[in-house]
Symmetry: D2
Subunit: 99 residues, 4 copies
């Protein structure tokens, strides 16, 4: 789907998502420092679980906004546009659940 014309749900919270992703980027650098400094495995694993959870929360936020905007708009339009959008959302949810 082309991004140009669309107003994706998350855009109204764009800065907040950028801030959270910036922090996650910092955490992944922190993981590299832990490995470089030969930190204890369990401490690194604990940090990985924290980063994974942070990513999951960002994903759930984006998904919620997607449902509330893109899917709602498509459903209002109805027909194949709605069907496609719902199928896409279900596939994204499945990937999240299985990852």
């Amino acid at each position: 789907m082309s991004d140009a014309h669309a107003h994706h749900g998350y855009i109204s919270n764009k800065d907040a998502y950028l801030k959270r992703l910036k922090r996650i980027e910092g955490q992944t650098r922190g993981l590299q420092n832990m490995v470089a400094d030969e930190k204890y495995c369990i401490d690194i694993l604990t940090q990985i679980s924290a980063v994974t959870s942070a990513l999951e929360s960002v994903a759930l936020g984006l998904l919620d906004e997607h449902l509330n905007h893109c899917v709602v708009e498509a459903v209002a339009e109805g027909g194949p546009v709605a069907e496609e959008k719902l199928k896409e959302a279900s596939a994204a949810i499945a990937r999240l659940v299985k990852s």
Copy 2:
């Protein structure tokens, strides 16, 4: 546990882990670019699932090395050292499964 004297299992593959984590760091920057460029929500969600899976694989690798080195060494030592190490490993596994 102090890191100084210990030889953690993963250290023999340290460079490989650093490389993988560096790539993951790059992927998190990529996520920020996608949000900054107002990319389509589903495409960002797909990329988050990829980053989460990559992190999980790093964690499973570290855990495998931890079992094969730190836990094996502690078990050889026996007693409370072994018990503590096994308890720690189980708690780390639980965090991974639940995250």
Copy 3:
């Protein structure tokens, strides 16, 4: 939400869901037999992963039908009914991702 008047999405596939859940019930009995027969831990763990995956697939199917029927109907109605339904769907997705 009262179940009486509602036509939930999954009802058109009710028999298929009942069949899948019946099989899952059988698998949980199988797990009990494995423990009763003192089967090897790893084999039991492998079977638990299979049951968990089967349950996840049922959940993803139900969620897809919920989006395509209950959420679509609510969105058509609009207003607080739609908001509530979307909030509920997002919360269910979060529970699935985190479980």
Copy 4:
């Protein structure tokens, strides 16, 4: 691995595991009743998340006992027996994390 001679870690807690699995079996029957009674999708999804979490906890318990008994015994024996047992444990952990 043949089950006959082995004393798997979980066997000392066998009755507790059987009780938990019996309850999980009952929960899967409950899911069937919810579908048969055409209950609301979200309520069924909530129940599925509860069953999945219960199964995960059983698995984590079994894994902990496996590490503390089967893996410890194999490590004491050393050589290929230990290597095989550790490899097996890591694969089981990966299945749990990915399911």
